[in-house]
Symmetry: C2
């Protein structure tokens, strides 16, 4: 009468996974995820080949994928983010079919519209009942939000929940409900929660980072958006967290009551919620265990699906109501196009995630990055990859100046009036090159290893193999 | 930037309602609902004709529908329940196209599958933010669960939220999220919460009702299902509530920890939750304001969508996990077929609602009804309408005996062993006719006024006009 099966093998057989199908995964366990590997290992052992893996993100813990690709088990890969471990292999050209990179909003949009159908979705669920009502908020492997898994669960032909905390029916704290679930597999462990922690999640102590951060906070203040009702997204990097800290100080000092914080949520955003800087947090994934604890206990910290977070096909998404987003970059070109997919050599080490979704949605999309990294200027003539189109990027903040997109004349005036170190983006390039020298041109191979699909469905760039 | 429009008229124009389209409504405001009437009045004033109205239920407060039908504004009606006020007019034959009756599970199944597409859904929302995130749990017109509105919101081409409590973005206590909503219309009042209260909601004091109720509780006890993990649904009638009271007494005395209560939820089920008889309540609609208060404040009292409650097309629904359901009837025939659509004259005064969904899902489906009503025996040779097929009905409890469906031989043995007054259903008919006499045959007209569509999509019965 219930949906619990004895083993993953049995679930795979019941779900009918066959060669040529598409299987999907979500990444809330991040670099601590066990589920993608255990499923792919089982599929490989069954002799299944020619699979498409549609994973919201691929982390270094997923390096066994490389062997599955080499062995023909996996012949196509779709994701929104790929860490350098697997990225280097893809950039080396191990796949015949190019990887499809999407955005955190574009992926669910394409699943919902049927462009990227999923045969069998595997949901890593920190708690599930016997009929598949499941949540990420409780259990020994609690990861908080399951935002990216909603589209997979709602639209895959078959859906398998894999859990290490099976509870009696009915689980009412569910994120995803039983109406979508076919099978429930209890396992020893779905992951290591310690691996959830993303990036540094600590505020930078680097003086350069602190200068950038303080400048970024002042840019937000000068933009006119920092007032009651303010909404904000930031990443988990040391400098962006430091910027959030400066912003928090301003908000508390000036008694500004923000509306909501959005995105992947860190403990730092939780602190801002608890300090009254925001009324609400909208959380599509938790970046650390403090965020996990908060989403479990604080009703003002709410889970949102990836569609609700950022889908361009939804009737609206939270990014459409966002005031300011603070984002990173590996490169920015003179047209404000941003690369977050590759390093300066063109080797894959990231992906858009929500970068281009939030840039498109926010009233003010800010990039924060040092003038140079490892003696390579951040501003280049041409980025190795257009992850986020420059027309959606408003400001680049560095430690040596703030460049405003020429399409934002009012903003530039406001920043100048606030005596911020505004300059043209060409000046930032020149300043870096004066110190580092002009970078050597990067040579890439002739094989397309990835297509970068923008949130509107167009292929915005292609990545080539790195020789 | 937000979705708020100035008037219902503007929303209707933006949503593009045209003659021949389907508009939909849900019934959580029950007999206190203002929204269906205000929308239909606006559509009539615009000269729109030939509409299909797909309303989860129609109450007496919706009598203005009769004029809209007479004037050609509405030419087709789909619902799961229709109170006698509109029912009498339908049974008089005022529509050319038969009404389509579905079940609370069948309606969302047909919306999801595309069998009954909706052009514009109107959601009566006690609270909504400016982007359409909405809930029934808070606001001056709080109605609790919005369970029946999910399918409409998720699958209609255009969705209009009508609210009398507009709040700033983002509302995180939402039931239905902004990704589905096109327009938000603030109005003075969406309904009168006093009209939510369904049926008597008071335990009967009638001695006949108390005998039936006590017998029903003993049947449940004797069935073997009343043990830890027990799950239960009951209605809001005086005798079914009394049965719940007897059941509660047994559960508390024997320290039985039930699993969940399901369905339309009354304050009486809330009391059982709070007394520890159940761990959880799964609530598709609140039958009174005590239930509304509970769903707002008690995390163990959870909203479920109509798909989650009862859809036959979902991968599972809560009714599939249900142990016992206690249901009413206007007539039961010798094959245990149950009529809840019409009175004994065949005039429409109800509908299946969740009757046949829960009968099909529950391990033990019980009908509780007096031997006769108004000198008409409850057991007849042939019911005026097969609402719920007899093969899914297990027991009929009356004050003069308990009839067990012949397909339940083990159950009959168990009830006999418990010394319950078990008899054949023919005996109940004979006992009633010995008192009341045999009823006169009812004559109906030749015009089909309604098709009764069972949860599997088949037309299980047809209703004719009453002369």
């Amino acid at each position: 009468m219930d949906k619990v099966v004895r083993s993953l093998k049995e679930a795979i057989e019941l779900a009918g996974v066959q060669s040529g199908m598409t299987v999907s995964f979500h990444h809330h366990m991040r670099n601590g995820d066990y589920v993608l590997n255990m499923v792919m290992e089982e599929l490989a052992q069954k002799g299944i080949k020619n699979l498409t893996v549609n994973a919201s993100s691929v982390f270094d813990c997923h390096k066994p994928l490389i062997d599955h690709i080499r062995n023909g088990v996996v012949t196509k890969l779709c994701c929104n983010y790929m860490a350098a471990g697997v990225g280097r292999a893809i950039s080396a050209g191990i796949m015949e079919t190019p990887v499809e990179f999407r955005t955190h909003g574009g992926r669910p949009a394409d699943i919902v519209s049927g462009k990227t159908p999923i045969d069998v979705a595997f949901i890593a669920a920190p708690t599930s009942d016997t009929m598949g009502n499941c949540t990420g908020k409780i259990g020994k492997s609690a990861c908080g939000s399951l935002g990216y898994a909603y589209a997979d669960a709602m639209y895959a032909k078959k859906v398998v929940v894999i859990t290490d905390n099976l509870v009696p029916y009915p689980l009412t704290e569910r994120s995803i409900d039983e109406t979508y679930i076919d099978y429930v597999v209890p396992v020893e462990a779905i992951g290591d929660p310690a691996g959830i922690v993303s990036g540094t999640t600590k505020i930078t102590r680097d003086p350069v980072g602190l200068v950038m951060a303080e400048t970024a906070a002042k840019v937000i203040q000068a933009s006119g958006l920092l007032k009651d009702g303010f909404s904000f997204q930031t990443g988990a990097g040391g400098a962006t967290l430091a910027a959030a800290k400066f912003l928090k100080d301003i908000m508390l000092k000036d008694n500004i009551k923000g509306s909501f914080g959005l995105g992947g949520i860190t403990g730092y955003m939780v602190d801002m919620l608890n300090a009254g800087c925001f009324q609400k947090l909208l959380d599509v994934q938790c970046f650390d265990l403090k965020a996990v604890e908060s989403i479990r206990t604080n009703p003002n910290h709410a889970e949102v699906s990836a569609m609700h977070y950022a889908s361009p096909n939804a009737k609206s998404a939270a990014v459409d109501s966002l005031d300011v987003v603070l984002l990173g970059a590996t490169e920015v070109d003179l047209n404000f196009n941003v690369n977050v997919h590759t390093d300066s050599n063109g080797s894959i080490m990231g992906g858009s995630g929500g970068h281009s979704d939030t840039s498109a949605g926010a009233k003010l999309a800010m990039i924060i990055a040092p003038l140079s990294r490892a003696r390579l200027p951040i501003v280049t003539d041409k980025v190795q990859c257009i992850s986020t189109p420059g027309k959606t990027v408003d400001v680049l903040v560095t430690q040596r100046g703030v460049a405003v997109n020429p399409n934002q004349t009012e903003l530039r005036k406001a920043l100048e009036a606030a005596k911020l170190p505004v300059c043209d983006i060409e000046e930032l390039k020149a300043r870096a090159e004066a110190i580092c020298g002009a970078p050597k041109a990067v040579r890439h191979g002739n094989k397309v290893v990835a297509n970068v699909i923008y949130r509107d469905g167009t292929v915005i760039d292609q990545l080539y193999n790195v020789e």
